[in-house]
């Protein structure tokens, strides 16, 4: 079963605009990761946020985590055509050392 549910399922924006995607999860986590998957390729790790963190930045990426609402968001600023990909959240539960991935958001950035 999938722990995380991403919203929206698909998103289409113009180059230069910001893209926001959300992840909601069901059980308590100790960290959450975001991954990107380009068409037909493996997943690439983007950023990890721990349960005691509320916000994290990496380049044009900004991740927030609200453990009270069991949700996280990924913001990509000043999007580029190369950002076109599927984005997945992966929820890590303490002590299990495994991650359960969400259903993904398919982002399309139009040039």
């Amino acid at each position: 079963s999938q722990q995380g549910e991403e919203d929206p399922q698909a998103l289409s924006i113009q180059e230069g605009e910001n893209a926001t995607m959300n992840c909601s999860y069901k059980t308590s986590i100790n960290n959450l990761q975001w991954y990107r998957q380009n068409s037909g390729r493996g997943l690439v790790h983007l950023i990890l946020i721990r349960s005691n963190e509320r916000e994290k930045h990496s380049g044009r990426l900004r991740v927030t985590l609200d453990t009270s609402k069991k949700s996280s968001s990924l913001l990509i600023t000043a999007s580029r055509a190369a950002d076109t990909a599927s984005y997945f959240c992966a929820c890590g539960t303490s002590g299990t050392y495994k991650y359960i991935f969400g259903t993904g958001t398919r982002l399309k950035v139009l040039a």
Binding site: Q33, R41, L43, G92, Y97, F101, T103, G104
Partner: protein, 115 residues
């Protein structure tokens, strides 16, 4: 540094035939994962290894799927016999250490089509 290597990249077989996938993780990575990814879905864990020990195989359909990681390095995932519903992408990933904050490095995957 070489990434996670998987082979073959594509495999087409007829139902009831056996199939095997191979994965070579990043050197020094003790943790190895096999995932199944259906079209339009996120990866689902099949099995996780710590060195040569399978520490989580609860999601592996053991009636037809098997896996091994001899010597704690490369790994093989086998399906015998394959069914139509096994058509998917099989992803291998590795992590450098055992802990709660593991970044996973993924291979390109093997796309399996069962006819």
């Amino acid at each position: 540094e070489a990434g996670v290597v998987q082979s073959p990249r594509y495999k087409i077989i007829e139902k009831k035939q056996p199939v095997a996938f191979w994965c070579n993780p990043i050197s020094g990575h003790n943790t190895l994962y096999w995932y199944l990814q259906n079209l339009g879905q996120g990866p689902e864990l099949l099995i996780r290894y710590e060195n040569e020990e399978a520490v989580d195989d609860s999601q592996l359909p053991k009636d037809r799927f098997s896996a091994e990681r001899l010597k704690g390095v490369d790994s093989t995932l086998k399906i015998q016999p394959a069914e139509l519903g096994d058509s998917a992408v099989y992803l291998c990933a590795s992590s450098p250490f055992r802990g709660d904050y593991n970044e996973q490095f993924f291979g390109p995957g093997t796309r399996l089509t069962v006819l």
